[in-house]
């Protein structure tokens, strides 16, 4: 960012090139806290203004930390492969709002068609497997084995 000197214009960013990714917290967070992965260059003020101006989300407090990506994995040439660093922001919502990260992969209720299709498919696979196997009286021994 350009350096601010007294008397100069306030920095204004229109159409920022930042992206914020809401993620599911790894450890349980309080109800009013949302966890984001943000660009490394964003500051707490940036995050607050971004959410308030663009998305109209009331923000009470923002805390950030930088997660160091490990450099221990090795590729096929024994060179170290680094996982990228990223900044995590914990945003506490104002006006008593709460947020719960949604379940993105819910169990779908199967209707009768898909259920019967699944049963048919399972039975067919069973029949195919039994055809592949030999005589059960031979105890798993292949049929080319013998006198």
């Amino acid at each position: 960012y350009p350096l601010f000197q007294r008397g100069g214009p306030q920095l204004r960013i229109f159409r920022p090139n930042f992206f914020m990714l809401a993620v599911r917290p790894g450890v349980p967070q309080p109800e009013d806290t949302v966890q984001f992965r943000v660009s490394m260059e964003m500051t707490k003020l940036d995050i607050r203004n971004y959410l308030e101006r663009i998305y109209n989300v009331p923000v009470a407090a923002v805390r950030t930390r930088i997660q160091y990506g490990a450099n221990n994995k090795r590729n096929h040439r024994n060179q170290r492969v680094k996982k990228p660093d990223y900044k995590v922001a914990y945003v506490q919502l104002g006006q008593g709002q709460t947020f719960q990260f949604p379940n993105l992969f819910p169990e779908k209720e199967q209707d009768s068609e898909t259920r019967s299709f699944d049963d048919f498919r399972d039975k067919y696979m069973e029949k195919e497997k039994q055809k592949q196997e030999g005589d059960p009286r031979r105890g798993g021994v292949p049929d080319w084995f013998g006198l």
């Binding site: 967070q29 309080p30 009013d32 806290t33 009470a60 407090a61 805390r63 506490q92 104002g94």
Partner: protein, 456 residues
């Protein structure tokens, strides 16, 4: 060899008796072998509980209070530092869950009933003010001729007014005007607003009021006024599993430490009377399942100190009133600018609860109580939290110190904190006049200072 051959070979099943006749065995006076208990050094839960029990016995058996405190805070481990003056959102709910405190809005009922009556005089100070030392209960019927100088007696019908509001108001206004108007001060440095005017005003106000009311309250005459003292307390509450490090996977108690610096503090040799009985239940304690680090609260390892403002041997070992000044970071204007108006009161409440819990619990530890030896009488203290203009009053009763994971299981007692909202003492200071002076706030302050045990 001959001796060997002389001894008859024993067949299996036979026993070789010695020379002495086996009579009835005498009952042993004390057990010959030590009691069979779990080992101390094994890596098992029984061994851990055995070590804890031995530690508890050592602390119980300590001769002096200093020795008890030394053993209590001997083991240093990373602990959460709890700051009474914090900008964290909804901190008072978290602090109430850490200290098992119930928050009751308003002042305790005794503050309204058994206080000495105050004359609601006009702005002219009365000349014939008659202080009556020692008398505290309001007298029912008073001869009206005795107080020819009083204009309008207070709510107690016909009681004797012996406290002059005008005098007190003039004291307060003098202190305020001296600090903000008459004294020529330069502009305050950045973020030093509170040390510039409200700090000296508070100190001056409290010292003059305490000296003025010492004639009415003999407890104040024997009290000790500390300037910028230190109050520390260390305690365990709840359990957690260690996450990183060589102790990973072990179950540890969650440790907390409060290091507080109130602006002023009054310590007295006699304890304030209890407000409600020890086992009373006035509300619910909030239960928060998240870890304290989500507040946010951070861990550090340093000395586990328990201190009330003076060492154990000091005769003024009980607390009376604390006065806290909020720092510049927690100004009202800042919260309003960030649209967090509901957090203004949270700041006052969290400061009152945390500071008073630390002070009363440290007083209880100075008397020899701790989490395994719970208090037998409640410890009561008061506090005034202010930012120079707005005053909030708190009264705390400590009923229990047992907050560790084992001792909290069968403990129905809760600590109680009464607290008011913040009210302004004055509206504005202009041209040598204090506009909009609020008598209620001054009255409450005076009531706080006049609080004393029944027998005095």
């Amino acid at each position: 060899m001959a001796a060997l051959g002389a001894r008859r070979l024993l067949r299996p099943g036979q026993r070789c008796f010695s020379e002495t006749v086996p009579g009835a065995p005498s009952p042993p006076a004390s057990p010959v072998y030590p009691p069979v208990v779990a080992s101390i050094t094994a890596k098992s839960k029984a061994a851990k509980s055995q070590r804890l029990q031995r530690f508890n016995q050592r602390v119980h058996a300590a001769a002096t209070v200093e020795e008890k405190l030394r053993l209590y805070g001997k083991l240093q481990r990373p602990k959460y530092t709890v700051y009474p003056q914090t900008f964290a959102l909804n901190a008072d709910r978290w602090y109430r869950s850490f200290t098992k405190t119930v928050l009751v809005p308003g002042m305790p009922p005794r503050a309204a009933a058994a206080k000495p009556p105050i004359a609601a005089a006009g702005t002219t100070p009365e000349a014939g003010r008659a202080p009556e030392p020692g008398a505290e209960a309001p007298r029912a019927a008073q001869a009206p001729g005795a107080e020819e100088v009083s204009k309008t007696p207070e709510s107690m019908a016909g009681a004797a007014p012996y406290l002059d509001m005008g005098e007190l108001r003039s004291l307060a206004c003098d202190a305020l005007l001296q600090e903000s108007f008459f004294q020529n001060k330069k502009r305050p440095f950045l973020y030093r607003d509170q040390d510039h005017t409200p700090g000296p005003f508070l100190t001056q106000l409290v010292s003059t009021l305490a000296a003025f009311l010492a004639g009415l309250n003999p407890l104040l005459a024997a009290s000790s006024l500390d300037l910028n003292p230190e109050v520390n307390y260390y305690w365990h509450h709840g359990e957690e599993v260690v996450v990183h490090g060589h102790r990973k996977g072990r179950v540890d108690p969650v440790r907390f430490q409060i290091n507080d610096n109130p602006r002023l503090q009054i310590r007295v040799p006699k304890q304030l009377p209890e407000v409600v009985p020890l086992e009373s239940d006035l509300g619910d304690v909030p239960v928060i399942e998240h870890k304290p680090s989500k507040l946010p609260l951070f861990k550090k390892q340093y000395e586990n100190k328990v201190f009330i403002g003076s060492k154990v041997a000091d005769p003024c070992c009980y607390g009376h009133t604390q006065f806290h000044l909020l720092p510049d970071k927690l100004k009202r204007e800042r919260f309003i600018r960030e649209r967090l108006e509901d957090q203004i009161e949270v700041v006052y409440r969290s400061n009152g609860i945390a500071s008073l819990f630390a002070w009363t619990a440290a007083q209880a530890m100075y008397q020899g109580f701790w989490s395994e030896a719970d208090v037998t009488r409640p410890f009561v203290s008061q506090a005034v939290v202010t930012d120079g203009k707005y005053f909030a009053f708190f009264c705390y009763q400590l009923n229990t110190l047992a907050l560790t994971a084992e001792t909290i299981k069968n403990n129905p007692r809760k600590n109680i904190c009464w607290g008011t909202d913040s009210k302004p003492l004055y509206d504005i200071v202009e041209d040598g006049n204090v506009k909009g002076f609020n008598d209620e706030v001054l009255l409450q302050l005076v009531r706080f200072l006049l609080n004393r045990p029944k027998e005095l």
